[in-house]
Amino acid sequence: MIRVDNLSKNYGSVEAVRSISFSLKDGEIVGFLGANGAGKSTTLKMITGYLSPTSGNVFVDEMDIITDCLEIQKMVGYLPELNPLYFEMKVHEYLKFHASIREIKGQEFSEALKRVVSECGLQGVVHRTVGNCSKGYKQRIGLAAAMIHDPKILILDEPVTGLDPNQIVEIRSLIKKLGKEKLVLMSSHILQEIQATVDRIIIIDNGKIVADGTSEELISSSQGMTQLDLEIMNAEENDIEDMKATIPQVNIKGISKEDNVFKVNLEYSSGSDPRAEIFNHAVSKSWILTEMSVTEKNLEDIFRNLTGQSNGVGHE
């Protein structure tokens, strides 16, 4: 269990993290989401004991990160951002180095090595030099090193950055599997990644937590606009534009015509569903409605609303 209590970190006069609090339960996969520079890595570095908080505290199983740092570090596996590795070592030597600091030796190490090699898919590269491995393998070597002591808590800072789509799918399923018995806290600035992997999302912006919940909770709690697409036959363009007079809550965003089918895109504020009225209106005008579909508002829009950004986050 991790409890973060009014945690703040200043770099000189820059407030990187401003009094954030949250707590994470065992067996939870939590995504830490934010734009670059929002304070994600700084928070993770404080939880792993790399940086000390300016104020506030982190508790892991009720142990204090300032006074019980070593004990906490024994329980945590950490994959830092950009995945630094000792390139001159062979893969098994690198894993042995990690195991040795954690006092895993002899038979116990052989078993641990076998476990992480199979979990992270390193079979082909165990005797290769780390520096000669591909980026995808390097990422998995970093992950294997973080897991060599079978930690209760895994902290992964941007674990899928720079991987190709197949590798992303593999790492994602590995993280999901690990999350069944461990607490996994991963950060990302890629929404799709977080949405696909985690149970719970914490969105951080400018050093503050702006949202915390499952992706469904975040979507339903946000007050935004819902998109609706219509396909209408047997209608006149003027009539469609006049629809707003009868159904005031809709806002027509665009009308296009293909053959004699009008494609209409409109939006309405969530909570004022106009679909029944649109149907009745269509009947009264003798239109033929061939399609009416709601585009779910997605996390990306919520993220942009919460962080006040119109671009800069999202796809990579």
């Binding site: 790399y50 630094p84 001159e88």
Partner: protein, 241 residues
Amino acid sequence: MGLAMNNILTIFRKELHSFFTSPMAYVFLVVFALVNGYFFNIQFFLINESDMRVLFGIVPLVYLFFIPAVSMGLISREKSLGTIEIISTMPILERDIVVGKYLAGFSLILLGLVTTSIHYITLCAVGTNIDHGAVFTGYLGLALLGGVYTAVSLFASSLTDNQVVAFIIGIAIVLTFFMMDKLLFFVPSSMNGVIQYLSTDFHLSNMSRGVLDTRNLIYFGSVIGFFLTITTRILESRKWN
């Protein structure tokens, strides 16, 4: 809390492994042996005396450049690669990291010193009336001096993430220690004693003459301890950046 031997050994082995998987250790050992051998031999047969004082005069000069070069990457490289974040988030104290790295650098220097034993063998073959005790204390002095310079260079390495900068800072401090007692006429005479006591050469010259004084041993030990302690503090200070 006592030193965690397991952790120190793990760091020690990792650093030695990194020395010997790169050309660094080999280049150092070969060039160190050649440079010392050349300067020793051109003087040894000229002077025509059965002692090794020539060597004890040359090695400290060679140290001035070689030791900062050997140790410059010990910490600065971890900083530039970002691996400092890996070892700092493992359950290991900064002090143990520093001691492990120090011992690795020091071992390589001692290995370099072993290469000069060939000259002792030459001396035994051609010389008469050899003062073996003086050779022993002289070597002990060289080993301790190597220990001091390694500690200084490790400290320099902890100050920056740039190996060249670490090298230059290392040379500057090492040179200061070396030159101190040669610049006595620049300081007020009341300070002479203190400055002389702080210089490495003052203590070394005693030992290469065959005098073993605990004051010299305490001096070397405390300078090493001082630099290892502040290096540890510097590593710990990253938390408060």
